[in-house]
Amino acid sequence: MRDFLIKLASLNRTTIYLIITIGVLLPLVVPLNLGQKMSPPTERLYTFIDTLPKGSHILLSADYDPSTLPELQPMLEAIVKHAVLRGVIPIVMSLYPQGTGLGIQACEKARLELGARPDTDYVILGYKPGFSAVILGIGEDIRKIFPTNYSGIPLDSIPAMRGVKNYNDIALVVSFSGGSTPFAWVTYANTKYGQKIASGITAVSAADFYPYLQTGQFIGALMGMKGAAEYEYQVNKLLEKEGFKKAKSVFAVRGMEANSIAHFLIMLFIVVGNIGYFLTKKRREA
């Protein structure tokens, strides 16, 4: 037993790499159906959107480009679907030029899979340059910044935009970003206009966001693939209940299952490595 453990603690690299490869590949091919319990920041955001009255508006800002797509796109898609199912109107915009296309892509899915009607059930505004100017400008009048939607239809003739003038008429802003853009939203829209802000961020930048969650500057947040998977899973449950089984997406869920397995393998390696270390140390001392 002892010798076995010591041996286990001296695996070569190739074996480790092989185990990791299998651990990540397996969940992608064979569904594990682990389920995804929401972590508190995800749950706060989900519940907030879930309990909004029908006909409310939320502003979703796709502040990213394709390089962070694997983590952020599933978040945007899941929130758009959730809003549409709940009768909440998502207004999709972007502070990054490439974000427009990603926003359109997410709404297209809601249109094809849930039958959402453009400009009635959702609105796509597109991209406007200038971070702070755009965020501050929406606080005055959204029509000043976006006179039309991305395809050139004036906001005044878009039914879904009726009665939406500024942040007073927007229940929540969610900024999706691989960097610090959500902070800009907090600085300009929250501090100045008291707008409620949530964020969807990559795991790399998430580490810097925790203090702001503690102080409540973000009402909720989706962090990395984990946050995406939790939200996606929850929306999948809702889709099933509402009879849209085909609209379910498992992109983030599968990725997170692979991720969880990998974490467990690494934790196992650490434990095994340390057991071996202490056994050999004892043997040397004895």
Binding site: S260, F269, G273, N274
Partner: protein, 204 residues
């Protein structure tokens, strides 16, 4: 004179003006800033020629060594090909240059990046040993955080809260402490350069 005095004077003059620029809101100051940014990019970009000479020489010399020859030949050819299609066909959408970027450079980049997953695993296995007090602390924190970020972490009461606390309090404090020292050190280095105390770049 031309060798040392003028470069040192240049560093001093440009350094002082650029520092003061921050405090002057006048449009002329902004204009100085914009111009300097362009000049810096321009001057910096010109270094590419020396770098390319180095790159080509590095691989050219290897053409004479049997074990390196075919690979270095490929490096030189890939470089020439990419440069050629870039200057002739342009960088626009649908160009060969862009295709080469998306289907050759980008996947190589992404795969190299993803090797990190493996290296994280082997580093944890190999080096995370509770050898000392410090090493044990690092190990235990990493272990807790790893567990908390998995799907399973959410099912254990208290774990999500613990994660938030670790990230927001001790983690933040250590980063801030380092950042204060780092910014003092980096400002001091900048000042030393401007004042001419640090002159290794002049060859000691």
């Amino acid at each position: 004179m031309l060798q040392r005095k003028i470069p040192l004077a240049m560093v001093f003059v440009f350094g002082v003006i650029s520092t003061l620029q921050y405090f002057v809101p006048h449009p002329l100051s902004q204009q100085y800033y914009d111009t300097m940014l362009k000049w810096m990019i321009g001057v910096g970009s010109m270094a590419i020629f020396l770098a390319l000479v180095s790159f080509l020489r590095h691989h050219y010399v290897r053409l004479r060594k049997k074990e390196h020859a075919p690979y270095s030949a490929v490096a030189i050819l890939s470089f020439l090909f990419m440069t050629l299609v870039g200057f002739i066909g342009g960088m626009g959408p649908g160009s060969v240059f862009q295709k080469m970027f998306y289907y050759v450079q980008a996947p190589l980049q992404a795969t190299m990046f993803s090797l990190l997953s493996y290296y994280m695993a082997s580093a944890s296995y190999r080096a995370f040993r509770a050898k000392s007090f410090e090493a044990t602390l690092l190990l235990i924190t990493a272990f807790i955080v790893m567990f908390s970020v998995t799907t399973f972490g959410n099912y254990v009461p208290g774990v999500p809260k613990a994660l938030e606390w670790i990230m927001a309090v001790p983690n933040m404090a250590s980063k801030r402490g380092i950042a204060i020292g780092v910014s003092l050190g980096s400002i001091a280095t900048s000042l030393k350069i401007i004042l001419g105390v640090e002159r290794n770049w002049l060859g000691g």
